[in-house]
């Protein structure tokens, strides 16, 4: 069936900010969908609140609304744009939920919008546990067996049938409270009786435990003619009990025989048909009992998911692209296989390599959070590695994680491990480091069976790991000279890195590399082609292997090429923003006539879509792996300044190896990062900076503190995302910090800066071509100094800075950029206190504010930077004046993952904790700010009680704000000190006790749902006190918290404006856009 001609405009809903469990894989799928729909001639309208995405680039859709993903806002967009259809399955759970709300509230019907790709009934059958189980029962496919108990005796009777252990889930309790696993009658009685009490329905679900079973995922596609295919099967290395997003996973399935696999395949297709997924991609998860092959379906997602992004990258089959085409009427056999260009997409990819995905965590950011992996996802990112064997792929994955490791142990970075008892526990407990402990266990001689019993992991994986570890240990202590070509090839085929071989043989990485190449052991690059080489492919999507009889990657004759190094796994401090910059560089350099080569290992991203660049190398971002590609491709230059810290830290080594670093040179980067040299530059340019010192011992630190005084901002050198940063207020805290800091970077000193309490902070992004500097945007932080810039809300243009100050900031930026020798992007952080501008830091690279700044100003900064690096001048790019006035305000607000980490303190500080961001655009600052709050919490308080507790500094400032809230009809409760200040100023309010003051107190009100909004401005050092408990409870109950006066004021003003006129929906295309001219200058 050809595409539908009865629809013209299609509304696509994105997935909003990056949060744990919903990351940039939906930018990848959404971008693909938008591109395809536009190619097919449809008018695309997009709603997504996340500015850091490629999909929200104004060129990706016809109308782009960076607005909150709420039914109310989407209705406004629908009323304005009159879409004929809504495609809900590409925006993750957020997009799906919004679509369901629109459908159920009758909005779609009212405006005559048809839901395509999936209908409401199918979504409900997929998502509603009870309906889903009924569907499965009708098919005769098993789900985990369970029954409801209303008395302890019921539970005992159910257990008679199921056997121990059983999982107990009280119905309708918050966050699954009161549940647990019972291994015997005693535990059962205890948990069930407690659970019955806790459950409002007096009901406990008793479910058989399938913990320890093998876990599989099937990525399925279906078209409306009823054709169904499996794109990819995925086997989890971790057994049931660890969320699949937190598991190491492997594609294709490794340990299923044909009959087992085909049964799972048939079931997957039947499930899609039964649930009623009309078209598109879905994912079905199964558990298999390793003892007898019994198969249980766990769940299905009637939409593209994180695993479909992984499956697309793992096979070369673009699921989201196909899903978008299917949704507009095509069938699978009418879509051409993107890679072969000759065969249809209606087939099942065959792969001739092994893919390993490893999740990346960020527990170090969340003190107090439980780091044991469970059924609730905690990973913030992931890496994927491709090798010809599991061993080769695992080795690559382990060195891709950006956690300092060079492989599966044997790299001199193994954590110190306790005595035998402690060790057994480390091996048995699923954590981010367990894979390393398993390797250590194998080194200590554990058998496969023992390790299998301790971990539940299939012996096949353990045996493969044992081979790796055994070879590592056999190599340990040998001399490098003894290795011949065959031995080297074996080591590389087992996935060992040059760093590991160096560590084990007492050589350094460069010696290993030289020796290896001397022996002729160089890798080959193979191609991901969907068909195991059965048909010729045309797409340059490559991976490296030491199966090197034939190399398939060659430089394109007669073309100048540029290599762009990506950002690696998403983690806190290094997220999608950097991928955005890399993708833009690729687009811009292609426009400038270069062949673009992308290198990255993050499967969630747009950069690793084989469509983004001319060539894609899916490889770890290490010196060894990057140099191997350089050796083959011989690019004209390598871009290292757009992918954040990951590529930046390779810059010096690459340059030393003779690689041309494009744009800002490593010397300039070092000049900005070396504190002493940088301060000399500031002195030279007469730029003020906070008094500072450095120390490697506590004594030195005390001396610095005595010189410049507390509070101090302390941090290790060379960090991104404020890792290991802190503010210390006294000697005790300083001592503790120094003791802990030594563990972070033993070779680098700790920096101690005077902390400017109460200062206003600013971010500035600029371009420089070596002679001219262009200031892209000045962003005023809403949080005071001391909050990491990545966690702080900010507004551009600045809402409270005079033109004179802004001119001064631009002038400093110009001088500094030229002095440092920046060619490309420069980010500067300033603080203003008492009318003095202080330089906090300067980074001659892309910052995380670049995508936001680009969208706020209409100037594609990352593209401009790439073109400058390729030799064009700022004058060539015809940018609008950087002193022009914008008629709108744009606010960026950070999104925190605290809800995922019960127990972790939610207070913000110099260490970055946010995972994502949203953007709000409006005619004024308060409305833009309110849009961001709405985009995060999906609803704003309309009335009720505001809890106010401010520090002494803010007692005066809070008064007019509280008055505004009262005028808006809110009731105020406040802690004693605050309420005294408010009453004194004539603001009506009720005092409430702090938690430490006994019951009833504010916590009781919060738990009872009586608080609609919290304004709590902390001062000084955070401790485990009232504030901590209160903040934690607020996160748990989803109550909006504001921690600064500026934020509180914006909230009040925004609420007022909203009541008066409502917030209007603004499309980016309504704002001035300044695309770069296509014709390049000197780069041609």
């Amino acid at each position: 069936m050809p595409k539908r001609n009865d629809i013209e405009t299609i509304l696509v809903i994105g997935s909003g900010p990056i949060v744990i469990g919903q990351a940039c894989e939906f930018d990848y799928s959404g971008t693909q969908a938008c591109k395809v729909l536009k190619d097919e001639g449809y008018r695309v309208v997009l709603v997504n609140s996340n500015p850091a995405t490629i999909m929200t680039d104004p060129a990706m859709a016809d109308r782009t609304y960076v607005e909150p993903i709420t039914a109310e806002f989407i209705e406004r967009v629908i009323a304005r744009e009159h879409p004929d259809a809504l495609l809900p399955t590409l925006g993750g759970q957020t997009g799906l939920n919004a679509a369901v709300e629109l459908a159920e509230s009758g909005i779609l019907e009212k405006y005559g919008v048809e839901m395509i790709g999936c209908d409401l009934e199918a979504i409900n059958r997929g998502e509603d546990r009870k309906l889903f189980n009924e569907c499965m029962a009708e098919l005769g496919i098993e789900t985990a067996r369970s029954d409801y108990a209303y008395r302890v005796e019921d539970a005992l009777a159910i257990v008679e049938k199921l056997g121990y252990p059983v999982v107990l889930r009280p119905s309708f309790t918050m966050g699954g409270a009161g549940g647990g696993i019972a291994h015997n009658e005693e535990e059962l009685r205890l948990i069930v009786s407690q659970g019955l009490e806790l459950s409002p329905a007096g009901e406990v679900l008793v479910e058989e435990s399938i913990k320890g079973w093998k876990e599989y995922e099937m990525e399925v596609m279906r078209d409306k003619a009823g054709n169904g295919i499996i794109v990819c099967s995925i086997e989890n290395l971790d057994a049931m009990g660890v969320h699949t997003g937190d598991s190491i996973t492997v594609a294709p399935a490794q340990t299923l025989s044909d009959v087992e696999y085909q049964r799972m395949r048939a079931a997957s297709l039947a499930i899609l048909e039964k649930v009623g997924v009309e078209t598109g991609g879905s994912n079905v998860q199964f558990a298999v009992n390793p003892e007898n092959g019994r198969m249980v379906v766990i769940e299905m997602n009637p939409r593209v998911s994180r695993s479909s992004a992984l499956a697309s990258k793992a096979t070369g089959f673009p699921i989201a692209k196909a899903a978008a085409r299917l949704a507009v009427g095509y069938t699978l056999d009418e879509i051409v296989n993107d890679i072969t260009k000759a065969t249809p997409a209606c087939f099942e990819p065959s792969i001739d390599y092994c893919v390993v995905k490893v999740p990346r965590f960020a527990f170090e950011k969340f003190q107090g959070a439980d780091d044991v992996l469970s059924t609730r996802m905690k990973a913030v990112g992931e890496v994927m590695a491709i090798g010809r064997t599991f061993e080769e792929a695992l080795g690559k994955a382990m060195r891709s994680l950006e956690n300092g490791r060079a492989g599966l142990n044997a790299d001199g970075k193994c954590k110190e491990i306790l005595g035998q008892d402690g060790f057994d526990e480390l091996v048995g407990r699923p954590t981010q480091d367990r894979i390393f402990y398993m390797a250590e266990a194998l080194r200590r001689g554990w058998g496969a069976q023992r390790l299998h019993e301790a971990t539940g992991i299939d012996p096949w994986f353990i045996d493969r790991m044992r081979d790796i570890v055994t070879i590592e240990e056999n190599l340990r202590g040998m001399s490098l000279d003894r290795l011949d070509a065959q031995a080297f090839r074996l080591l590389k085929r087992m996935g060992l890195s040059d760093v590991q071989i160096g560590h084990l043989t007492g050589a350094d990485e460069l010696e290993v590399r030289a020796r290896r190449k001397q022996l002729g052991i160089v890798p080959a690059f193979k191609t991901v082609d969907t068909c195991a080489a059965e048909f010729p492919g045309t797409t340059a999507y490559h991976y490296k292997t030491y199966d090197a009889d034939e190399n398939e990657a060659v430089p394109t004759p007669g073309r100048k090429s540029v290599m762009i190094l990506g950002a690696g796994p998403n983690r806190i401090g290094q997220g999608i923003e950097f991928d955005y910059c890399c993708v833009h560089a690729s687009y811009a350099l292609r426009d400038a006539g270069y062949e673009t080569i992308m290198v990255n290992c993050n499967p969630e991203t747009v950069s690793t879509d084989y469509d983004t660049s001319d060539k894609l190398y899916f490889e770890p971002l290490t010196f060894e792996d990057v140099m191997d590609i350089v050796d083959i491709e011989q690019p004209e230059g390598v871009v290292v300044t757009l992918g954040g810290q990951t590529p930046l830290k390779l810059a010096a080594a690459l340059q030393e190896a003779g690689v041309n670093i494009m744009g800002t040179k490593p010397e300039a980067i070092d000049l900005a990062e070396d504190r002493d040299r940088f301060r000399a530059v500031c002195d030279e340019l007469a730029i003020a900076y906070p008094a500072a010192g450095q120390a490697t011992t506590i004594d030195q630190a005390r001396k610095v503190a005595a010189d410049i005084g507390f509070p101090l901002l302390v941090r290790p050198s060379y960090v991104l995302g404020g890792r290991g940063m802190g503010i210390v207020y006294n000697d005790g805290q300083l001592k503790r910090y120094m003791a802990e800091a030594a563990k972070i970077t033993p070779d680098h000193p700790v920096y101690l800066d005077r902390f400017l309490e109460g200062a206003v902070e600013l971010d500035l992004d600029a371009l420089c071509d070596g002679t001219e500097t262009y200031v892209g945007a000045i962003m005023e932080h809403i949080e005071m100094a001391g909050i990491h810039s990545g966690d702080s809300a900010c507004c551009t243009p600045p809402f409270s800075l005079s033109d004179a100050i802004q001119a001064q900031l631009r002038s400093i930026a110009r001088r500094l950029a030229l002095r440092l020798g920046v060619v490309g992007l420069l980010n500067i952080q300033f603080a203003i206190k008492d009318q003095v501008i202080y330089m906090i830091e300067a980074n001659p690279r892309a910052s995380r504010t670049v995508p936001f700044a680009s969208k706020a100003t209409g100037v594609p900064l990352a593209q401009a930077a790439a073109r400058i690096m390729a030799g064009e001048s700022i004058a060539d790019l015809h940018l609008p004046s950087d002193e022009r006035r914008l008629d709108h305000f744009s606010v960026k607000e950070a999104v925190m993952p605290f809800g995922r980490f019960p127990g972790a303190d939610t207070i913000l500080g110099p260490e970055m904790k946010s995972t994502g961001e949203v953007m709000g655009i409006a005619e004024n600052f308060p409305c833009a700010f309110d849009k961001t709050q709405l985009a995060i919490s999906y609803k704003l308080p309309e009335g009720g009680t505001v809890f106010v507790s401010v520090c002494d500094r803010d007692k005066r400032g809070i008064v007019p704000i509280a008055r505004d809230f009262v005028r808006l009809g809110f009731r105020i409760v406040a802690t004693e000190g605050t309420s005294r200040a408010l009453r004194a100023a004539g603001v009506d309010c009720t005092p409430v006790k702090k938690i430490s003051e006994g019951a009833p107190n504010v916590l009781d009100m919060l738990i009872a749902g009586e608080i609609a909004l919290m304004i709590n401005t902390p001062f000084g050092h955070a401790t485990r006190d009232d504030g901590y408990e209160l903040r934690t409870e607020a996160v748990k109950h989803g109550v909006t918290q504001i921690t600064t006066l500026a934020g509180a004021q914006a909230m009040a003003a925004g609420l007022e404006a909203m009541r008066a006129n409502g917030l209007s929906a603004i499309a980016l295309q309504d704002l001035p856009q300044h695309p770069l001219p296509l014709e390049g200058g000197s780069a041609r």
Partner: protein, 452 residues
């Protein structure tokens, strides 16, 4: 293997295997390690792209005369369950893999694959860059090859391979057929798949199967469709078959060049029209030959579990298992019948023309009347199935029994049963409705396991 390599491998699951070599007749040589029986083996080099189901491939008699390269690099992961084997003894000549697993993991595994190969005398080589090999075969076509674990001299290997016999024109079916007739019934169903497969129904049809190297799963499929099967040798006279008054005759898969199997297709010519018939793979080619069709040798064949085939009658695409190096040329079966072919009178070599036109064309065959094209391969437009309109017979080039591979086409066994019932709409089956037929899930299966 160098001393230092041996030292590194000490204590791993990777044994220190003998050196082995693979040489193709065009002079390409790959070196690796022996991972099966020792010795030397000659055959036609080809490759299979299935991701799992290596045992079913290795034990498929249709691979007689061939050296199989498996494109998935790690083979043997879940070991060998002897009851998954498609025949008592592998008929292939040799096996090429990237990495052979010596420590399999699966609850149904009886032994490691390497051990199975050794027991059955199959010469095999690992550590080969199989992707490079597959790309070479894809570009240069199937050709003669040798695997040796005793000779690693390239010159000598080339001389040997160039002196070896080609499979073109050879009757390999005769080498894997049965000596004498045998029965295959519900009693012959393997126990170890009962956890996954439905109970066997009572036999309603008496079927005689020409065994040209039949896969066990095909016979199982017939039994599960309600047939009681008697297999007969490849060249059994039609009269002997008809004398037993079967409800239907089945033509099995088999190896090699169909032109060389005249002993079968000459009998098929006599059987068509006298009894309902169904053919798979070589069986399809036998029906084609009986109808006078021409045969082509494909450049490198179809071998894998992911080939899309469109059923022109339902317009549904089936993902199919395939294993053949020769194909029937549909246009050679007769002139088009325009009134049954959308008015078209011109043949098209690329049968995807009919897919795009939405027509299942019909030809008039000199011997058997009208024949309809029912199934087309969407990758290359070759014929995948035909139905005779004037005699009760149909056949497919691909493998509805899968094993290994997707079971989308399972409905064809049901179709054969319907044909034997005399239904005109025998092929008109919704594959979605048929999807779970034959499988067993859940509690029922587990209960039985517990009782077993």
């Amino acid at each position: 293997m160098s001393n230092i390599t041996e030292q590194l491998l000490r204590g791993t699951s990777k044994g220190v295997g003998a050196k082995a070599a693979l040489a193709l007749e065009d002079g390409t040589v790959f070196f690796g390690t022996s991972c099966g029986a020792a010795g030397e083996a000659f055959g036609e080099i080809c490759f299979n792209t299935s991701l799992e189901g290596y045992l079913e491939v290795i034990s498929d008699p249709s691979y007689a005369g061939q050296i199989i390269t498996l494109t998935y690099p790690q083979i043997g992961n879940y070991g060998v369950n002897l009851e998954d084997a498609q025949s008592g003894k592998p008929a292939l000549r040799g096996l090429v893999v990237r990495d052979m697993c010596a420590t399999p993991s699966n609850w149904r595994s009886d032994m490691a694959l390497g051990e199975y190969l050794e027991r059955n005398g199959v010469v095999a080589i690992e550590d080969v860059d199989t992707r490079a090999l597959v790309r070479h075969v894809r570009d240069h076509g199937a050709q003669r090859a040798i695997i040796s674990t005793v000779d690693d001299d390239a010159e000598s290997l080339l001389a040997k391979v160039r002196a070896s016999e080609s499979i073109v024109g050879r009757n390999l079916a005769a080498t894997v057929s049965c000596e004498r007739p045998y029965a295959h019934t519900a009693h012959d169903m393997p126990d170890s798949v009962r956890f996954a497969l439905a109970e066997v129904p009572d036999a309603r049809f008496k079927v005689i199967a020409y065994d040209c190297g039949v896969k066990r799963s095909i016979l199982d499929g017939l039994v599960r469709a309600g047939c009681s099967v008697t297999c007969v040798p490849w060249d059994t006279p039609a009269e002997d078959v008809l004398a037993q008054h079967p409800d239907g005759v089945f033509l099995s898969n088999g190896p090699g060049d169909p032109d060389a199997v005249s002993g079968t297709y000459s009998q098929v010519e006599k059987l068509l029209g006298k009894v309902p018939m169904f053919g798979i793979c070589l069986g399809h080619q036998m029906m084609g030959k009986a109808a006078g069709a021409d045969i082509e040798k494909l450049k490198f064949g179809h071998r894998g579990g992911n080939h899309p085939v469109m059923n022109l009658l339902t317009r549904r695409v089936e993902i199919t298992a395939q294993n053949h190096g020769f194909g029937v040329l549909f246009p050679s079966m007769g002139e088009l019948v325009p009134e049954l072919s959308g008015g078209y009178t011109e043949h098209h070599d690329d049968l995807r023309f009919w897919v795009r036109a939405g027509i299942a064309p019909v030809v008039r065959n000199e011997r058997f009347g009208r024949i309809r094209l029912t199934h087309v391969n969407l990758n290359d437009g070759t014929v995948e199935g035909v139905a005779f309109l004037d005699v009760p017979a149909f056949c497919v080039q691909y493998h509805p029994e899968a094993a290994p591979g997707p079971t989308d086409a399972h409905y064809l066994f049901t179709a054969f049963a319907r044909l034997m019932e005399g239904r005109k709409d025998y092929l008109d089956i919704d594959i979605a409705a048929d999807r779970l037929a034959g499988w067993r899930f859940g509690a029922e299966a587990t209960k039985e396991l517990a009782n077993a």
